[in-house]
Symmetry: D2
Subunit: 404 residues, 4 copies
């Protein structure tokens, strides 16, 4: 049993940490100014492009991707890096080309794409030349139950024709999001987990219609392409755009989820660490009722509770990453579900406490806390609400043979 | 002991409820459209003016104000009406001219204003011709401790000169907010609770400078005048603008708080009731994993927990109102603090559960839940964070002579 | 709306409070000594008999029972008296002949008993000459679902023959518990809520066998007759012992529950008040880390949270009592379920905090807290676990026609 | 980073697990019967002696003790073994001679004792021939603040004279507890952490008076020697009985705490695992409202929440153990405090849920849950209440230099 990171990871932690603290965080007010100056724009702002150029030059690029195409890191190695990017969630992940949904989409293409698909879409994504979106959730059904998905992908000769409506397609408001991975039903009569497929739909295909942006607690997330509602009206793409094969949609989705959850959870832990750092600074400098906040019992209690939560949950994510690396995603299912449930809500609570300590400033854009809160809150719904996972985890636990 | 409302109240409940359900809630999408069409505007939109005209014609106007100038209701009588306005927090309170901060400001003017002050500012506020703002919180100090307030109000001959900076001045972005009530220090050497005074500052006084709007999560609250940061740079007003007398600021603030908390808490309970109604509708119509959500254990549990919280807390607010009516605000201090602490956080939790049930739609502007959440969340900081009140309530409780 | 108690109630509150503080609480160490001296005994100890004599002489007797046979109080009138008896749960309820399960059994006999049944069993119970037990819960089934109850009550000529096993028959270890009310199945083929009946079984009937006492967190509750497991092996009683009629068992049980829950909840609130009084005394006298506990933030926070919970929940119980008095138990079903769920767990939490403040002394018999905790904890299971009630309350709420 | 146990540990886990499941758990009802038959006895019962003989024969003895005198395991190696002993907290730790307070006392003697002290007391403790007690907590002061300790240890020629009163001296009711380690003040004028010393007091020294046993909830813990209140009235022992030197008491106490917390926390996690195993068995076999409990949402949710808590906290304890092994107890202070706070309360909650699922049986002695609950609950007070540790952890965290 060894809780040390290896040397390569320690070196990368240092470099990522330096980049985040010296470049990304100081760039946040610049981004705010650029956003304020360009209200109708959904593309990357200049400061983002500058950070990406700098990170790539430093070799901090595609860290998330295992294998030769990426940095070749294991989940255990990448996890602490993802955590550091969570300190500046709007700028650091994207600076390293490690932002969702591109990461998951690149993984899908790397693992399941044909050489042609990879050449056409994966390479420019890895190069940072285009962006992408993932179109799974639908407005009219409870899509946490994948069999509810109603978008149809119908074979028609050498083509597939896609009809349906998606929403919460993150990044899709950005005109540079050139490629959409769409989940839909190819065979309603197949066995439950073989009904769905995934297909590549270029943004400019006729019939693709961006309906509107959605907001999260008032935030439109324009800096990273927002969240779109999209209609697919008889959208026709070549049959070669199907990924992996008909009926593989559910399996690809599952494969995509494991690393995605590690990344989300580690970034969320990074958000909690940033919140704690801000709280520490504030508590030591702010005086109320004759004493610094840092000397008041309730503040210490909050900080202690937050520290305990962060330490325990980080270990759980790291163990999950280690299980994925050593025994595979399927054997790590309980742990993957556990972190999906436990981390976002703990981080939501930590951010709520931090907001409380900052007072009204914490609710405003003067601090990153409220926007981080919205992000952590939405993680409790992304990929299915906590309750679906709790139920599944509980059922699995109750089926294990006990030794009582 | 009698838990019935009296006949006048029952009649008003019916009428307010009808107005809210038949006019205010249906006007919400209209407001959204008008807001989308006028991004730089902070004034009332046309739909608000129409609702106000209609409500006034129906005699549903200034219900919050006791005495002859208002509807003459007690706190116990007004409380259930305030609750109903909470179902549509953006439209119903303002429709009835019962929206903060105007309500508190009108109370201050009614209770402490000179006839001249009342003629100049109270009458047009009661008539709905102007709006107002309350300038208390400051960016640089922990203003939950009123003695920290640093804005200076200096006597200079027949005038007072105000210097300082305020923020979270709700409504002040609206150019129709013609009058600001400003809290500041007149005598730093006076006894702790006699240092502060309140003074009337017309918006157009030289030296008053609106610096910027603030956001709560991502909401700018443009529909009701937003929240402003304001600089007061050597702002000179006639000495007659002082309210009640030098050193009275703290006492006026305390007097303003009691009714304000009843109103806020009852509206928050109304938000929780709206959320429960939305949840009920959704849970009965949405199917996941083969059953309506309404048949799933966790949904029933949430609804039951929410119902219990709402029932218990409504009674506590009503009892507080009754105490204020019968023994006075000072004797109701424990209860006023109790509801200030307990109601917003319970409503925040109820809204969080409702969002979870609605999935991503709950986070968006397609449902009122996320914006209500932001409102309830900010109540936990308004007039001082919960923790300050918990501490004061605990201290008072520990000083009561026990009979053990 | 009026939150005042009427004059009769105020007078009784004074008298009950005086008795509890001047006689019952001071008698607690005497009871401890008498219990220590008589380890194998399950009858009342002398100090209990003395208190009962005194209370009866003061007219503080059978306060729980409405109508002419009892004190004739409404639920709203009795509720605050029950609360005061909760301060000394081992001595005050029994002193006033207001202790479970006798209270519920007397109500059943008063409401559903024949004159013969009343003469034989109700009169001596009212006089305090005998005690009783209620035999409903069974060891082998989930008896929160009454249709699971497996004890059989079979007609055989002029007799009924009872066969089954019960446990948690409170008070039944006391040899003076002369009469048992037994719930069992008379017709397994009847409609779901008509299968069960209740029957009177004198303790000394052949076939009644006390198997063993049960403990609750190590407490055997010897002072009030403990909790027994009882076998009924072909127990034969006259047909006239059936209460109300075959198939009425479920209805009688429901009728018995409403007042029982008011009583339990109010006593639990009284326990919380006693805990708060003890905490106050301790926090003001105990010094740690250079300051009295009363000056430490977390202690104030606990006390404040506890006070808020107690105030809100007391009102909910009182409103429930008022609804039962004015519109009947059936119309008060939501509230009855709500208090059954909310009060015991809040009181458990308050007691847990009080124990924490007292340190190890709080766990021991030197303070009443741990034993009260065991009592409050067991209320969360008595008459069905919280979860059954939450589910039923949620289901009912979700069926109400919403006005959204 | 590696989450695997090494081979020696895996082998010991298998052997300990087999012993616990095949010998200790089946012996629990035997212990109950022997306890019932010997109400006034505080010594080991025969079944305990048999288990100890068997365990020693299998080489499962003194596993807790590092170095040559014990099994030579690191904290990381011992932790999973301690967890397994938590499944049967009354029998397994004592069977392996790994039960508190003997473990801590043996560590003190091994680390700080003179050869004479070791020969006289450590050797018979290691051999299991005697038992011991640790006398630190005092009834009259808040002993979580060690400087409050009032017992005096006064030098008098070749002797020390001890005067004071202790309670919660675990195991001391057992006449075989031959030696007491007593903490007391040698120099009230010394620097805060140099005032206290520890000294060895043989049980039979004149002036040592066992006053009474204490109970935890209703449990007297007779099987492992109970908890005693003890008076030390001018107790005179040779100066050579002092451990390590005057003023070393605080340092020894600190050294004793680290391993003790690892042991307590891992055993508590074992209790939680046993509870989960019992819950699984029950939930799959018990039917209510037409379905096994295992198919009911709230049960799955409890089980899932419990599993998540256990997994995260076990990792935190293991990391703490690893830090103690690799960088030392002082560097692991934050983690040691974190597990002290987080584990017992989580386990308390898991046991509370398990009790709820078992219904009234869970409160009784028919299941181990209520007694385990009492044990977990008391851990929240042992070595200082959670709140003291939260405060210290929060203060330390707020003093770390942040990088925000």
């Amino acid at each position: 049993m060894d809780f040390n990171h290896d040397d390569r990871t320690l070196d990368l932690i240092d470099r990522v940490e330096a980049f985040v603290h010296e470049r990304a965080i100081p760039a946040e007010p610049v981004l705010d100014a650029q956003l304020a100056a360009t209200p109708g724009e959904w593309r990357f702002r200049p400061v983002v492009d500058e950070l990406r150029t700098a990170a790539r030059a430093e070799g901090l690029w595609n860290l998330f991707l295992p294998g030769e195409r990426g940095a070749g890191l294991t989940n255990v190695q990448y996890a602490p890096l993802a955590e550091r990017t969570g300190w500046s969630p709007r700028l650091a992940p994207v600076a390293f080309n490690c932002a969702a949904p591109d990461t998951g989409n690149m993984e899908v293409l790397a693992d399941f794409g044909t050489p042609e698909q990879q050449a056409q879409w994966l390479d420019p994504l890895l190069a940072g030349d285009i962006r992408s979106s993932f179109c799974m959730t639908e407005p009219d059904v409870a899509s946490s139950d994948a069999t509810n998905i109603a978008t149809r992908i119908r074979r028609d000769g050498d083509h597939y024709v896609i009809t349906g409506r998606k929403w919460w397609s993150t990044g899709a408001m950005n005109p540079d999001a050139a490629i959409f991975i769409v989940m839909g039903q190819t065979d309603p009569d197949a066995e439950r987990h073989r009904q769905q497929s995934m297909i590549l739909v270029p943004r400019d295909t006729p019939g693709v219609r961006i309906i509107r942006p959605l907001t999260v607690f008032g935030y439109d997330d324009r800096d990273h392409g927002g969240h779109a509602e999209i209609a697919f009206d008889d959208v026709r793409v070549p049959a070669g755009n199907l990924i992996a094969g008909e009926g593989e949609g559910f399996a690809i989705a599952q494969a995509r989820l494991g690393p995605g959850r590690i990344h989300h959870c580690m970034r969320a832990i990074g958000m909690a660490e940033r919140a704690l750092a801000l709280v520490t600074e504030r508590a030591n400098s702010r005086v109320a009722f004759g004493r610094p906040l840092a000397e008041q019992g309730v503040v210490r209690e909050w900080v202690a509770e937050s520290r305990i939560q962060v330490e325990a949950l980080r270990l759980l994510v790291l163990k999950t990453a280690w299980l994925m690396d050593t025994v595979g995603n399927r054997q790590a299912m309980t742990e993957i579900q556990a972190i999906k449930i436990a981390v976002p809500r703990a981080v939501q609570q930590i951010l709520d406490r931090a907001i409380q300590l900052f007072g009204a400033a914490g609710l405003s854009a003067d601090q990153p806390l409220a926007e981080m809160f919205a992000g952590a809150r939405s993680l409790r719904l992304a990929d299915g609400p906590d309750e679906v996972h709790l139920n599944a985890l509980g059922r699995a636990e109750l089926r294990r043979a006990p030794r009582a």
